[in-house]
C-alpha cells in the first residue's frame, strides 16, 4: 500500500506539470484581456502600458517558467516563512494577481474559510441526509418512500442553482425575512449570537448546495446497498440471529460504504473548488466566486493558480480514493 501510494505520488508530478502546461496554454489561447474591466474612458495606449506593467510583454514560455518558479519554489518558501518565521522568501516575487496586484495565495487563503464553511457544510449535510435516504430506499426498494426519494432526487438534480437559489432567497429573505440574502464574510464567530448569525446566513446556500449533492449521493448509496443486500453474507448474518438493525446497519452498510466513501472522497476537490453559481447567488465570495471573477477579468495568474490547485486536489483525491478503497476493503491489496 505504501509503495503504491508513493508510486502514484511520484507519477503525479509529471502529470501535474503537464496539466499546468495545458492549463497555461489554454488560458493563453483564450481571448480576453486583463484590461477588459477598465472603463472605456481609459485610452488604449494607457491600457497597453498597464498591460506591459503586468508583464504581458514577455514571451509565453518565459511567463510559464516564471509562474512555475513562483508557484513551486517561492510560494512554498513563503509558507515556510509564515509558519516558522523564517525569511527565505524575502524579496522574491510571488504569483501576483493582475486584478489586485497582490499575491494570489494570500487571497486564496483569505477566501478558503468561506468556501469551506459553506460548501463543506453543505457536503456534510448532504452526506448526513443522503446516506439514510439511500439506505432506507434500498432496504424498502420500490416502496413509496423509495419512489419519492427517486423523484425528489431527480428534481433536485435537475433544478439549476441559479433558480433554486433565487427561489429560496425570495421565500426566506424577501417574504419571510428569516435569513439574510447576502452572506457576511466579515462576521467573526466569537459568541453565541454571532454563531446563530453565522448559522442563519449559511442556511440558504447550504440548503441549495446540499439538495444537489444529496440527490446524487443518495442514488449512489441506494445502488450500493442494493448490491449488498442480496449477498450471501447477509443471510449468514441473519442466520446468526442478529437483529435487522445490526444486519443492515453494520454488515450491509459497512460493505456498501466502500464505493460510496470513494465517491465522497472524489467529490471533495469540488468543495475547495467552491460552487460558482451558488456562491454568486448568495454573495458568499469564496473560491468559486474568485475563480469566475478572475476568469471574467482575465486575471491569468489567478486563474492559472486556482485551476492548478484544483488539479492538484483532483489528482490527490483520486489517489486518496484509491487508497481508501484499499483500506476499507481488506480484499484489495495494492502491491
Amino acid at each position: 500500500m505504501l509503495t503504491f501510494t508513493i508510486r502514484r505520488l511520484i507519477l503525479a508530478v509529471p502529470t501535474l506539470l503537464f496539466i499546468s502546461l495545458v492549463i497555461f496554454l489554454l488560458l493563453e489561447l483564450a481571448p480576453g484581456d486583463p484590461m477588459a474591466q477598465v472603463p472605456l474612458t481609459v485610452p488604449p495606449e494607457v491600457k497597453e502600458k498597464m498591460r506591459l506593467a503586468l508583464g504581458l510583454g514577455e514571451p509565453v514560455h518565459i511567463r510559464f517558467w516564471k509562474w512555475l518558479v513562483q508557484f513551486f519554489w517561492i510560494e512554498p518558501q513563503v509558507l515556510i516563512d509564515n509558519i516558522f518565521g523564517t525569511t527565505f522568501s524575502a524579496g522574491d516575487l510571488r504569483v501576483i494577481s493582475w486584478q489586485t496586484r497582490s499575491p494570489v495565495m494570500d487571497i486564496v487563503v483569505q477566501r478558503l474559510p468561506q468556501t469551506l464553511w459553506v460548501v463543506g457544510t453543505a457536503y456534510i449535510v448532504a452526506i448526513v441526509i443522503a446516506l439514510p435516504i439511500g439506505i432506507y430506499s434500498a432496504y424498502r426498494q420500490y416502496s413509496w418512500f423509495d419512489q419519492m426519494g427517486t423523484f425528489v432526487s431527480m428534481v433536485g438534480f435537475s433544478v439549476p442553482p441559479f433558480f433554486s437559489g433565487v427561489l429560496v432567497i425570495v421565500i426566506f429573505s424577501v417574504q419571510l425575512g428569516w435569513f439574510p440574502s447576502i452572506y457576511d464574510t466579515t462576521l467573526v464567530v466569537d459568541s453565541w449570537d454571532t454563531f446563530v448569525k453565522q448559522l442563519q446566513q449559511m442556511v440558504m446556500p447550504v440548503m441549495v448546495l446540499a439538495l444537489q449533492i444529496t440527490a446524487q449521493l443518495s442514488r449512489f448509496m441506494r445502488a450500493s446497498m442494493l448490491d449488498n443486500l442480496n449477498q450471501d453474507y447477509v443471510r449468514t448474518a441473519r442466520a446468526k440471529g442478529l437483529s435487522e438493525y445490526v444486519v443492515v446497519m453494520v454488515h450491509v452498510l459497512r460493505n456498501s460504504m466502500i464505493p460510496v466513501v470513494t465517491v465522497i472522497a472524489l467529490g471533495i476537490p469540488s468543495i475547495f473548488g467552491g460552487a460558482i453559481i451558488t456562491e454568486q447567488v448568495f454573495k458568499v465570495n469564496g473560491i468559486g466566486q474568485l475563480l469566475i471573477g478572475a476568469i471574467q477579468a482575465n486575471d491569468l495568474p489567478m486563474v492559472q493558480t486556482l485551476t492548478f490547485i484544483f488539479a492538484v486536489l483532483i489528482v490527490l483525491f483520486n489517489l486518496i480514493a484509491d487508497v481508501l478503497y484499499g483500506i476499507l476493503d481488506p480484499r484489495i491489496r495494492y502491491d
Binding site: Y233, A239, H251, N255
Partner: protein, 606 residues
C-alpha cells in the same frame, strides 16, 4: 422427550411473488428431524431443498418468499414446542443462531468480507450467550480449535479472504456451532470444495454431531456425500418430497423413479475397475443407449514436454517482478488421438494453467507444445489464430463462460464467424446441427444463457467448442458445477462425441470418480508438477505416489457401507507456489513402474 422430533415439517408450502405471479418453491413437504440424527435432503438443483431449510429459519421471507401453509414445529431448548411458521421475528432472532445453526453452501461469499473472522464468530455468542468480549473471544478460539483450524489466535484477526476455502468453511461451521444449537442445517456445505477438503469437513461434521448430539439437516445433491453422512434421507424433486427412508433403504432399495435415476447417474469410484477403456454410463430413461468402450488410437496428437508456466508477482516502486507463481513446473505428457487424458489434483495445483498454456491463453515460460507436429509455442499471432481452430476449450463454470447478453445461437455461431467458415443460412444450418449434436432443441437457439439450466448451458459451451470441428478439446472442470444427473448426461455426451468424431480430450477435474469414468490416461498434479501419470486402470488400481494414495482415500464413495472416518485422512496444506526470482526448481524425474505408468521420483513438495 428423547424420541420427540426436534423439528417437524408438516405440509410446508412456500410461494414467491414474482412479476409473473406467484411461483411455488416447495409444496406440501413433510418430514421430521430427530435428536442426534442426520437427515440428508437430496435432489437436483431447484428442487426446493434450500427453500425448505430457509423456511425453517424463517429466512425465506427476506428473499421474497412466503410460507403459505404448513407447520414448522420446533422443539425449543426450554419452553417446549413452537410453530416457527407463525412466530414473530423477535422470537425468531433468539432461535436463529442459538437453537438452530446454519451452514451455507458458498464459503467464499457466506462470510462478510470486511469483518475479521473473530468479530463474525463472536457476534452470535455475545448476543445469545450474553458473553463479554473476552469471554466470547476465548470461546471463539476454542471453537476454531474444535474445527481444527491451525493457529486459531492468529485466524481470529484475519479477514475471510486471507483463509483458504476449506478454512473458511470451517469458520462457517464454527459459527453455526457456536451456541451449541439443537439443530444444525447444512446447505450444501461441501459442494464448492476440493475432495480432500470435503472429506475433512464431512468428517468434522460427523464428529461434532457425535460429540454434541446435535441433530443435523444436511442438504446436498451429491449421493456420495449422502452415503457418507446420512442416517435418514429425504429425496426431493421439483418442490415435492418424493421419497424418505434410512440411508440403507434408499441406496439399496430405492422406490421412486427419480431416486433410482439419481443413483444411476452417480459415478462410483471403483466402478470401472477391470475395464481398460472408458464407456458411457447407463442412465435411466435413455432406452436405446449403446454402451461400448471407447478405444481411441495410439497416434499422438498433443505432445507436451517440460512445460513451465509462471506468473510474475509485481511489486516495489517500479512495479518490477519480485517473485513468480510457479503454476506449472516441468510438466510433460502426451494425448492420443481419440483418447482422453485427465489431469486431477487439488485446487490451485496448476491444472487450469496447464490447460490454458497449451492453447496459449496464458503464455508459458518455456517448454514445448507440439500439436499434430506443429510447435504451438513458436507460432505468431496469425498462425496461432489458425491453430486454435483445431484446439478448443470448455470452461468450468457454465454460468460464467457464456456471455449473458448474447443469444445462444450467436454464441455458438461466433467461432464460425470468427474464422469465416460459414455465413447466412449455411451458418444457421450448422448451428442447428450443432444443437442437434448436443441434444438441445433447435428452439433454444434464440434463448439467453440465463434461460437455461446449468447442464444445458454446458452443452452450449460444448457446441461452441465443437463448432470449429476441433481435434482436441481441453475440458477444464467441464462438469464440476453440474448436478449429478446433468453431469452424467454431459459426460455421456462427451464420450459419445469422442466415439463418433474421434475427438481427443484433455480433461481437467478434481473429481476422481468422474475421472475414472472418462479417462484413458490420468495425470495427477501436485504443486505444478505431475506426480504420477499413466493409464487410468493402473493409476487408480495401483497408485504409487503418496499423494495419489491420499487423494484416492479422500474420495467419498456413494455407498453407505464404505464410510470414511476422520483418522483415515491425512492432508498437509499445500505449500505456496510463490518463489523468488533466483529460485530454480529441479527438473522432474520419473520412474516407470509399469509400461506407460510413471511416478515422480524427485521431490514434489508433498
Amino acid at each position: 422427550m428423547l424420541d420427540q422430533p426436534i423439528a417437524q415439517i408438516k405440509g410446508l408450502r412456500v410461494e414467491f411473488q414474482t412479476k409473473d405471479g406467484p411461483v411455488v418453491g416447495v409444496q406440501d413437504v413433510s418430514f421430521d428431524v430427530n435428536p442426534g440424527e442426520t437427515v440428508c435432503i437430496v435432489g437436483e438443483s431447484g428442487s426446493g431443498k434450500s427453500v425448505s431449510s430457509l423456511s425453517l429459519m424463517r429466512l425465506v421471507e427476506f428473499g421474497g418468499g412466503e410460507i403459505t401453509s404448513g407447520q414448522l414445529v420446533f422443539d425449543r431448548r426450554e419452553g417446549g414446542q413452537v410453530d416457527l411458521g407463525d412466530t414473530d421475528q423477535a422470537l425468531m432472532k433468539q432461535i436463529r443462531g442459538n437453537e438452530i445453526g446454519m451452514i451455507f453452501q458458498e464459503p467464499m461469499t457466506a462470510l462478510n468480507p470486511v469483518f475479521t473472522v473473530g468479530r463474525q464468530l463472536t457476534e452470535g455468542l455475545r448476543i445469545h450467550k450474553n458473553m463479554n468480549k473476552a469471554q466470547a473471544e476465548a470461546r471463539a478460539i476454542e471453537l476454531l480449535r474444535e474445527v481444527r483450524i491451525p493457529e486459531p489466535e492468529r485466524r481470529m484477526k484475519q479477514y475471510p479472504h486471507e483463509l483458504s476455502g476449506g478454512m473458511r468453511q470451517r469458520v462457517v461451521i464454527a459459527m453455526a456451532m457456536a451456541c451449541e444449537p439443537r439443530l444444525l442445517i447444512a446447505d450444501e456445505p461441501t459442494t464448492a470444495l476440493d475432495v480432500t477438503i470435503q472429506a475433512e469437513i464431512l468428517a468434522l461434521m460427523d464428529r461434532l454431531k457425535r460429540e454434541t448430539g446435535t441433530a443435523v439437516m444436511f442438504i446436498t445433491h451429491d449421493m456420495a456425500v449422502v452415503a457418507q453422512m446420512a442416517d435418514r434421507v429425504v429425496v426431493m424433486f421439483r418442490g415435492n418430497k418424493v421419497e424418505e427412508g434410512t440411508v440403507h433403504e434408499i441406496f439399496e432399495n430405492p422406490q421412486h423413479d427419480y431416486t433410482k435415476a439419481l443413483l444411476a447417474a452417480v459415478p462410483k469410484l471403483g466402478e470401472m475397475s477391470g475395464k481398460n477403456y472408458p464407456e458411457p454410463m447407463k442412465l435411466m430413461g435413455a432406452e436405446d443407449q449403446k454402451i461400448e468402450p471407447i478405444k481411441g488410437s495410439d497416434e499422438v496428437i498433443l505432445n507436451v514436454e517440460n512445460l513451465v508456466t509462471r506468473f510474475p508477482v509485481k511489486g516495489g516502486l517500479l512495479r518490477r517482478t519480485v517473485a513468480n507463481v510457479h503454476a506449472v513446473e516441468d510438466v510433460s505428457f502426451k494425448v492420443f488421438k481419440g483418447q482422453t487424458l485427465s489431469l486431477v489434483g487439488e485446487s490451485g495445483c496448476g491444472k487450469s494453467s496447464a490447460g490454458r498454456s497449451i492453447l496459449r491463453l496464458v503464455e508459458p515460460q518455456s517448454g514445448k507444445v507440439e500439436f499434430e507436429g506443429r510447435d504451438i509455442l513458436g507460432l505468431n499471432q496469425n498462425e496461432l489464430h489458425k491453430a486454435r481452430q483445431d484446439m478448443q476449450m470448455i470452461f468450468q463454470d457454465p454460468f460464467a463462460s457464456l456471455n449473458p447478453q448474447m443469444q445462444l445461437m450467436d454464441q455458438v455461431a461466433e467461432p464460425m464467424r470468427n474464422y469465416g467458415l460459414a455465413s447466412g443460412s449455411e451458418l444457421q444450418d450448422r448451428v442447428a446441427n450443432l444443437f442437434d449434436r448436443v441434444h438441445l432443441p433447435r428452439s433454444f437457439m434464440r434463448r439467453y444463457p440465463h434461460e437455461m439450466s446449468g447442464g444445458q448451458r454446458q452443452r452450449i459451451a460444448i457446441a461452441r467448442a465443437l463448432a470449429l470441428n476441433p481435434k482436441l478439446i481441453v475440458a477444464d472442470e467441464a462438469v464440476s458445477a453440474l448436478d449429478v444427473s446433468v453431469q452424467a448426461q454431459v459426460l455421456n455426451l462427451m464420450m459419445e462425441l469422442q466415439a463418433e468424431l474421434g475427438l481427443s480430450f484433455l480433461f481437467i477435474s478434481h473429481d476422481m470418480a468422474v475421472v475414472e469414468r472418462v479417462s484413458h490416461q490420468v495425470g495427477v498434479m501436485y504443486l505444478g508438477r505431475i506426480v504420477e501419470i499413466g493409464p487410468r486402470a493402473r493409476v487408480f488400481e495401483n497408485p504409487q505416489h503418496a499423494y495419489t494414495q491420499a487423494l484416492m482415500k479422500a474420495v467419498p464413495i456413494a455407498d453407505p457401507n464404505q464410510r470414511k472416518s476422520e483418522k483415515d485422512l491425512n492432508f498437509k496444506p499445500i505449500p505456496s507456489p510463490i518463489h523468488d526470482l533466483n529460485y530454480s526448481p529441479e527438473p522432474s524425474q520419473y520412474m516407470e513402474v509399469a509400461p506407460g505408468h510413471f511416478v515422480l521420483t524427485t521431490d514434489s513438495g508433498y
